[in-house]
Symmetry: C2
Subunit: 240 residues, 2 copies
């Protein structure tokens, strides 16, 4: 009995999971006090440092707040700012289902500039997935994703039409996405965009170009999104 105990989990993780589950189930609500380090140590039969580790880590994640001399409390539910989420996940977090239509799917194109962004040789074949995103029945965004066709061969339409690209990559290709750098600016709708989204040419669009990195630090997806003005606002939180 050293690091792991009954199951294959670390002690501090087990403690965190117990607390997390209680919050998830509504047994602990925001503002409620959580057991103190000493109580947790006693209950879980671990040392104080381990109980402390569990709480300090939860506090870092923003799950709980600690007040010196007072105690540890469940943090108010936080809006997930600056989180990298697939369209599917974004919709799900608002209780909506993602609807989209694939308008282009190919795996043998090549584009020097995009290959460069993905740190690929300039003639590398690229897989391209272009989708129109729908809010209700109304199209409001056009998203185009570029990936290395060599690394991700055989991206299937059905899996993309239902699940998200993120989920497909993580499930079928054992790639976990970690972070993305985004460039955001404004343009106007050109002919192709206005046709696909049924909006007038020249409509102002929010353009988001993101380079999504895997957890190994490899640039994995280059995505360009065009969002119809008024139908989509981006939320960001910045810190000083």
């Amino acid at each position: 009995m050293t690091a792991n105990q009954s199951n294959g989990q670390h002690a501090y993780r087990r403690i965190q999971n117990v607390i997390r589950k209680r919050i998830e189930l509504g047994k602990l609500r925001p503002g409620d006090v959580v057991e103190s380090e000493r109580e947790l140590a006693r209950i879980h039969k671990v040392s104080l440092m381990t109980a402390r580790h569990a709480l300090a880590d939860l506090a870092r994640e923003g799950v709980v707040e600690r007040r010196h001399g007072a105690g540890t409390f469940v943090a108010p539910p936080k809006i997930h700012f600056n989180k990298l989420m697939s369209y599917t996940e974004q919709m799900a977090s608002r209780g909506l289902s993602a609807r989209s239509k694939i308008v282009r799917l190919s795996s043998s194109e090549s584009d020097t500039e995009i290959a460069a962004r993905l740190s690929l040789p300039s003639a590398s074949p690229l897989a391209v997935v272009q989708r129109v995103r729908l809010a209700g029945e109304e199209p409001f965004a056009l998203e185009t994703c570029y990936l290395s066709a060599d690394e991700f061969h055989g991206l299937a339409v059905p899996s993309l039409e239902r699940g998200s690209l993120f989920a497909t990559l993580e499930r079928d290709y054992d790639v976990t996405l970690a972070y993305a750098d985004e460039e955001i600016d404004a343009t106007d709708a050109d002919q192709r965009v206005s046709d696909l989204l049924s909006i007038p040419r020249g409509t102002p669009m929010l353009r988001i170009r993101q380079l999504i990195y895997s957890s190994k630090g490899t640039p994995t997806i280059y995505a360009v999104g065009l969002y119809r003005s008024g139908r989509h606002t981006l939320l960001i939180r910045r810190f000083r």
Copy 2:
């Protein structure tokens, strides 16, 4: 001799400061190995847990990176993503000087919607500072800031023309800004904007509306920025 030693610092902070200083002075460069936990413990005559605390904390801040089984290394210098910076600070970080022109300065307006965003009574007087931002000689953005006129009376033009609004608030009013929530979308230039920025009407604009909070959590500034397309892109990093 328990928590503090020679000076009034905690042991783990002292260790961090030593490492930080070495990085600042260039004695440690990105990729260089930092002393191991055991070495630090020996050198600073502290326990392993304390040396560990120092390094783990530096790793959280992104100053160093730790690799299991390999060692602790100085992290590559980070670009400051998602940092709340005034226009003046943004320019300074690129080695440029901020140039802007105040086109409106008043302190007795009132606007129910904006007052509400600042959590003020709806008839509260507002101080308004509207500035055109210049890149070289070319105007590329229009920024409008709203503050409580009661709290910030006597905002002087000269201090705003040179220094930043941020600096003025922090110096003259003892307010430190902590974070901001931003809504980003696209619009087009209306008559007033196109006149002020000398651009055609209908030019797509990036619109950033930010609510800036003080370190006490009080909404302090509501700012609306309109940025000319192609002349300004926003950079964001998102994490999963």
